[in-house]
């Protein structure tokens, strides 16, 4: 069940009609959230429920054991890590690692067949496995570090783990924040509901109008169906992809936050206009914030962070980014995507070159271009295709501009997406624009226009890109 579907609309109507009647008893709210979330997740494939149940049960009991049996806390923590990362390895990485091993053996003239021996069930990637595994892991890590008291109520735990708005594609919420929120009974006021509706409308607009309308242009380019080539063509395709992935994922996060807000809960911001960043470091504080902070808190800082000198800091940064690349998928292309970011981030940290520009808006297109080049490998089917596209971007060859007419339906929405970001930039940086926006109460008109666009300008309904992770 995806947010941009009639099924979800019916599900959400049913959920929010019943929600106010659950009253002050936490247990009824937790039961309702858990059952509804399992229904939501099971809609894809009910067999996936066993995995989330198993993963959740391991962490629920391990966390209790860490608390109750301090002498064996390391053992139970290890058990939780093995359970979560084991499941992730089997379902997400088994094929990749088997291929790497096969290739390695082949270099020494040993012909080993590993991929074909992987059981069929392990080749199916359960939706959102990386998201809920990391969420579940953060719970046991925090309990192990003594930063969180484990909950004794299993429904309390599962309502945190399986909370449907963010279950399959985040934002990755922290147990420390959210278990407390789940304990409280809150009736949402009018303003909160309005803000929730606004988030849902803008989120759906980003997904259904911007991202979905861009997909034809991008998919046909990467699948080699368009027949177009050349520098201008590939630049436009990659700009479109940069905005597609942003609108797709940011749209999902906004909808998730809006749904939670309507229930009376608060999820932290996951995207904060990352393409307006003036350094790559800033980009990573604005892009997929919940994952970036997860890696910062549980990997980067655990590896020493920047406290132990520049070299340790850079090594920690490299390891964290490479793991982040691998988190996205078991492909060399994701590792190259991460490696590009590592190189650029290290260069930026060592040379501090962005300071040469002060606060100049010129930095925005420069940082965007860096992110765009890395996106090539994120989207490419394989490294060879990625290399070819990068070569097209940087070695000039003429393009047949007929693609503009053929893909006008997509290019129009790319223009709209850029215009919206430009307006956001103006609003953030120019007091007069901010005041005008605030005084004219534009929100009301914009939400109505977003709804109209969702109804009449939506693209072909597509799955959210981040579901595959």
């Amino acid at each position: 069940m995806i947010f941009n579907s009639i099924e979800f609309l019916l599900f959400a109507i049913g959920f929010f009609l019943l929600w106010p009647f659950l009253g002050k008893r936490s247990i009824s709210r937790w039961t309702f959230i858990t059952l509804a979330s399992f229904f939501f997740y099971g809609w894809w494939d009910w067999r996936f429920l066993f995995l989330i149940l198993a993963s959740g049960l391991i962490d629920y009991f391990c966390a209790l054991a860490i608390e109750n049996r301090p002498k064996n806390r390391k053992l139970f923590f290890a058990l939780s890590l093995i359970g979560n990362l084991g499941a992730l390895s089997i379902f997400k990485y088994s094929k990749f690692f088997a291929t790497v091993l096969e290739d390695t053996f082949a270099k020494f003239n040993y012909d080993v067949d590993l991929v074909d021996k992987i059981p069929e069930f392990a080749l199916i990637l359960p939706v959102g496995i990386s998201f809920y595994t990391f969420q579940s892991l953060s719970y046991t890590i925090d309990v192990y570090r003594g930063r969180l008291k484990p909950t004794r109520n299993i429904l309390h735990f599962f309502s945190y783990l399986s909370m449907f708005p963010q279950l399959v594609a985040g934002p990755i919420i922290r147990a420390k924040d959210f278990l407390t929120q789940l304990n409280r009974y809150r009736v949402t006021n009018y303003l909160e509901k309005w803000n929730a509706i606004k988030m849902i409308a803008f989120g759906l607009f980003q997904k259904m109008v911007i991202a979905d309308n861009l997909s034809l242009f991008i998919d046909s380019a990467f699948e080699g169906k368009s027949g177009f080539e050349g520098t201008a063509y590939w630049w436009l395709v990659m700009i479109a992809f940069s905005f597609q992935i942003y609108a797709d994922f940011s749209g999902y996060s906004l909808i998730a936050r809006g749904l939670a807000k309507y229930m009376g809960y608060h999820f932290r911001m996951n995207f904060n206009h990352p393409y307006l960043s003036k350094s790559l470091r800033e980009f990573w504080t604005r892009w997929h914030i919940s994952l970036s902070t997860w890696f910062r808190d549980y990997v980067y800082i655990a590896l020493g962070g920047s406290r132990r000198g520049i070299v340790t800091g850079l090594i920690a940064l490299a390891i964290t980014m490479m793991l982040s690349g691998l988190w996205h998928g078991a492909k060399y292309t994701f590792l190259i995507w991460a490696a590009i970011h590592v190189i650029l981030l290290i260069f930026e940290r060592l040379t501090k070159w962005t300071k040469l520009f002060g606060k100049s808006p010129l930095l925005i297109p420069i940082i965007f271009t860096q992110a765009l080049v890395a996106w090539v490998y994120f989207r490419a089917d394989d490294v060879t295709q990625g290399n070819q596209i990068v070569s097209s971007l940087f070695s000039y060859s003429e393009s047949d501009l007929a693609f503009y007419d053929i893909y006008f339906d997509s290019i129009f929405f790319l223009g709209l997406a850029i215009l919206i970001e430009f307006f956001v930039y103006m609003r953030k940086n120019y007091a007069a624009v901010k005041m005008w926006y605030w005084r004219s109460n534009l929100d009301l008109v914009l939400v109505s226009l977003a709804i109209i666009a969702i109804l009449f300008l939506r693209g072909e309904g597509k799955q959210f890109i981040y579901f595959q992770f």
């Binding site: 009639i6 099924e7 509706i197 309308n213 006008f408 339906d409 129009f412 929405f413 009301l444 008109v445 939400v447 109505s448 226009l449 709804i451 109209i452 109804l455 009449f456 300008l457 939506r458 693209g459 072909e460």
Partner: protein, 297 residues
């Protein structure tokens, strides 16, 4: 906010023409075919030349009494055994049992035999099918527009340019294109037949299955949908299709082959019949069916 939104919806519905491609109706159209009930006297099969070229309502206009009939043609459909069996399975065992097959070279290529569109809809989930069959009558009012349509509408004050199709309940898509260009499809087919040729295996299996179908008492009527002359030449010269052989083999198995004069028909892109010609073709088929029924004891 809700009043403003409703007002805007009303404005869109009042001031903009209906979208050229109604995706909700399109989805419903294909799913109604894919999940059609097995109670038809006459079933029509074939590729896009058939789903755009044969109206069973027009066939029925030549018949008395009328038959329960449906067009189960799909875009790029090919005659593999699964598709043939699907067509046969939609015939009512207690009905007249007439199978009308549109024969095109493409429908005997391995590319056609993938039957992608048929499978795409066959694989749709239960809710998707339910939505298309029961909710599309409401959802069709919210069919999305393309940016191109709006551009043309804003610049020219009309959106009467492009490909238009109007999906009919009998499985026929009433279609035309403005402006017309008989050469549009030629290049596509030239490339297609460079990559894919008519498959001997497919033809062999097709004839075997046709013999079985005829032996089971089903009447098979076949014809080659008329196209632009240059298109016919391209197909005959590049695809490996042999019309005389096909006709001969079909007739040997007891099928009725309809001869058509291409000069009587008009295509809008070199491949597909303009809706007026489609109605004309359908009536010709209707006359053959009427003759067949009259001869049947």
């Amino acid at each position: 906010m809700s009043s403003l939104t409703v007002l805007l919806v009303v404005c869109v519905k009042l001031f903009l023409p209906a979208p050229i491609k109604n995706t909700e109706l399109r989805n419903e159209f294909w799913l109604r075919k894919t999940f059609a009930s097995p109670d038809y006297d006459l079933v029509v099969g074939g590729d896009s030349r058939i789903y755009r070229g044969v109206s069973t309502t027009a066939i029925n206009s030549e018949l008395s009494p009328k038959l329960q009939a449906i067009n189960l043609g799909y875009s790029s459909a090919g005659y593999d055994l699964e598709y043939l069996n699907f067509l046969v399975s939609r015939l009512n065992p207690a009905g007249k049992r007439i199978l009308v097959l549109g024969i095109t070279p493409h429908s005997f290529t391995l590319e056609g035999a993938k039957n992608d569109l048929y499978h795409e809809h066959l694989d749709k989930g239960t809710f998707e099918v339910f939505k298309a069959l029961y909710l599309s009558k409401y959802l069709k009012h919210f069919a999305p527009y393309k940016a191109t349509e709006l551009k043309v509408y804003v610049l020219n004050g009309t959106s009467e340019e492009g490909y238009f199709e109007d999906f009919q309940a009998d499985g026929w898509a009433h279609s035309h294109r403005l402006p017309e260009d008989s050469l549009t499809a030629i290049e596509i087919y030239q490339k297609l037949f460079t990559d894919y040729q008519v498959s001997d295996t497919l033809i062999f299996n097709f004839f075997n299955r046709i013999s079985e179908i005829e032996n089971s008492g089903i009447e098979v009527i076949a014809f080659r949908p008329p196209t632009f002359e240059l298109m016919t030449n391209v197909e005959d010269s590049l695809s490996g299709y042999n019309e005389a052989f096909m006709r001969n083999e079909m007739e040997l198995r007891g099928c009725t082959w309809i001869d058509l004069n291409p000069a009587e028909f008009h295509t809008y892109d070199g491949s597909h019949l303009h809706y007026k010609s489609a109605e004309h073709l359908s009536k010709r088929i209707g006359q053959e069916v009427e003759k067949l029924l009259a001869d049947k004891p």
